[in-house]
Symmetry: C2
DNA sequence: GTGAAAGCGCTAACAG
DNA sequence: CTGTTAGCGCTTTCAC
């Protein structure tokens, strides 16, 4: 354990140097693990450092080196557990690289006075991880001239910025195909209106699967809805009003699926006996839903890790292996889907 | 919109000074809103700052002033949505104070090599928010001599460190009393073994409510269990093996309650027709459980806000109004509890 | 009101 | 191998 020195303030490199009877740069060299220090000198310095519990002042180092060791993670909001594993993954990798993660929540505030854009400029951070960025945010970031990586890039496809995404199209395709394989023909999709690219890809995947099965696309079965519980609920209520309701519902994400469950339960329709439901994301609570929800797994931890890894490479000016990665989704079968043949018919 | 200057690098205060035709300290004064600058000079400097999109270098300022504007939030882990509103609340207040939040997840790593304790020492942060700290962590933090605030202090009651907690005892009491008022007499509690102070208070509240109702404490009804789903599940399975099973279950937290639901569902026991269940925390998903879970609301956003507010005061050396706050919990009635009289009896 | 001078703690370049 | 010198960009006395 480090011994406390009499003064309240932490020792500086200068004091350590004086006590060890060497010059300041020598201490600095020891601190930075440089080889051009005599073994004996190194040991003496190390002993003093240990004894006085010396720790480098980061601000001074940052000023000198032009790097702060800080990475900013910018999220639209902090009240959705969807983001948690992304946070965790990014945090892990950033820490492994000896840096720290600064958290920013934009709350969808006007980009205009977005503080984080200044943070990108004032050299207080080395790089930025931007989750669900808008087109405008990306533009401003490009001008700031600091390394950044996009997570769930919502910008145009032409954008060549480093980014990490998931296979939303394939996810939508696979989810729909799963229902198709179970014999379902009238399959609804919820989440049509969401302007995010992931939402657009999901519905495109849904349509492609239908198309591959030579099934027509029924606009009545494509419901509006943002990625939240209440929209899943309303869409389901509407769906059940239809002359010919669907036998299966593909919810654009798990929150919506929870709303689907709630609406169905209110109407006395049981899952999967009378309705098959599939979600997207594989949030933890879907495993304990009743019945457990079949869903598409979105590799969120890996999303955070991959993005952070690219950013760290960028910061260290080692070109990353690939600056644009797409992580695969996969189907998680649980108990919310059933073959149409075994499913009871509604009047 | 700030115009870009020809050079790639951001302008420094020196360049701004030169362009505006004033000295460096004058620019600094303008930047810091000092009054001893002629109106005309100020405007000229401001114009140049605006035009060149100048932003202060934080590292330099931090070095000079000894403050970094960074607050470290240290969490045991990042994979439990319980922490999310705490994060959000802390983030809000920290940002309102013009500072930024650095995130650290200890993953319950040995305190020995805890990096965050160094961060506390190296002047790279101005203060620390410690969630669910161990006794040892607190001791080390006290030695580090930097402001800190504890959230969910698990340390001894004697500890006088600034802290924010919730009324776990009252929560336990109210939850139990609610069940008692409903006519239940055999009420189980899950979460006995958890060593955290909140767990201890909850069971104490449970016992006190029983005691107040002149009911004996049956050790068989006090189940072991950490605050997770699986332990709630196992405890429930065990409870149902009892010769005389409980008619109501008080789960130490919502994750456990989810496990209770799962076990009950497997056994074909319906909630609340055959078993009343109450949880603790009021996590978002409890509202969409089936049936929606009655639970004790833990004000987590406020926890984060309050802790951050105290820390900000401490950092600014304004003594906070109170350095030790306890936030009230309250009952959220939903549909998982029913009067014993209306509840079906199990064989 | 304004600016010259000093220095926060550290690292990099180079001379010895 | 070691130490001297020179700043990184900013804020702070303190003369003028």
């Amino acid at each position: 354990m480090a011994k406390r020195h009499k003064t309240d303030s932490r020792p500086t490199i200068a004091e350590i140097a004086q006590i060890a009877g060497v010059s300041i740069p020598t201490v600095s060299k020891v601190l930075n693990g440089r080889t051009d220090v005599a073994q004996q000198t190194r040991e003496r310095v190390e002993r003093v450092i240990e004894e006085y519990g010396f720790v480098r002042n980061r601000a001074a180092r940052a000023l000198r080196k032009g790097k702060t060791g800080l990475v900013d993670l910018v999220l639209p909001r902090l009240d959705d557990e969807y983001f948690l594993p992304i946070l965790e993954g990014a945090s892990q990798v950033v820490r492994e690289a000896g840096m720290r993660l600064v958290l920013t929540s934009t709350h969808y505030h006007s980009e205009e006075d977005a503080q984080w854009i200044n943070d990108a400029t004032d050299r207080s951070i080395d790089g930025i991880l931007l989750v669900l960025p808008t087109e405008e945010a990306i533009e401003r970031l490009e001008q700031a001239g600091r390394p950044f990586v996009l997570i769930h890039n919502q910008g145009g496809l032409l954008n060549m910025a480093p980014s990490v995404r998931i296979t939303s199209w394939e996810g939508g395709f696979v989810a729909t195909q799963h229902l198709l394989n179970l014999g379902h023909r009238r399959i609804a999709y919820i989440g049509k209106t969401s302007p995010t690219r992931d939402a657009i890809e999901r519905i495109a995947g849904y349509r492609a699967a239908l198309d591959a099965a030579h099934l027509p696309i029924d606009p009545q079965l494509e419901c509006a809805g943002e990625f939240n519980e209440i929209d899943g609920y309303h869409a389901t209520r509407a769906l059940l009003q239809l002359a010919e309701p669907p036998t299966a519902i593909f919810a654009g994400n798990d929150h919506q699926a929870a709303g689907v469950y709630r609406a169905l339960h209110e109407l006395g329709i049981t899952v999967p006996d009378e309705m098959s439901v599939i979600g997207f994301d594989n949030l933890p609570y879907t495993a304990i839903m009743n019945p457990p929800l079949t869903t598409i797994h979105a590799p969120r931890l890996e999303l955070g890790r991959a993005a952070a890894a690219i950013l760290v490479s960028l910061i260290n000016e080692k070109p990353p292996e690939t600056a644009r990665v797409v992580l695969p989704t996969h189907l998680v079968e649980r108990q919310s889907c059933r073959p149409l043949a075994q499913q009871a018919h509604r009047p």
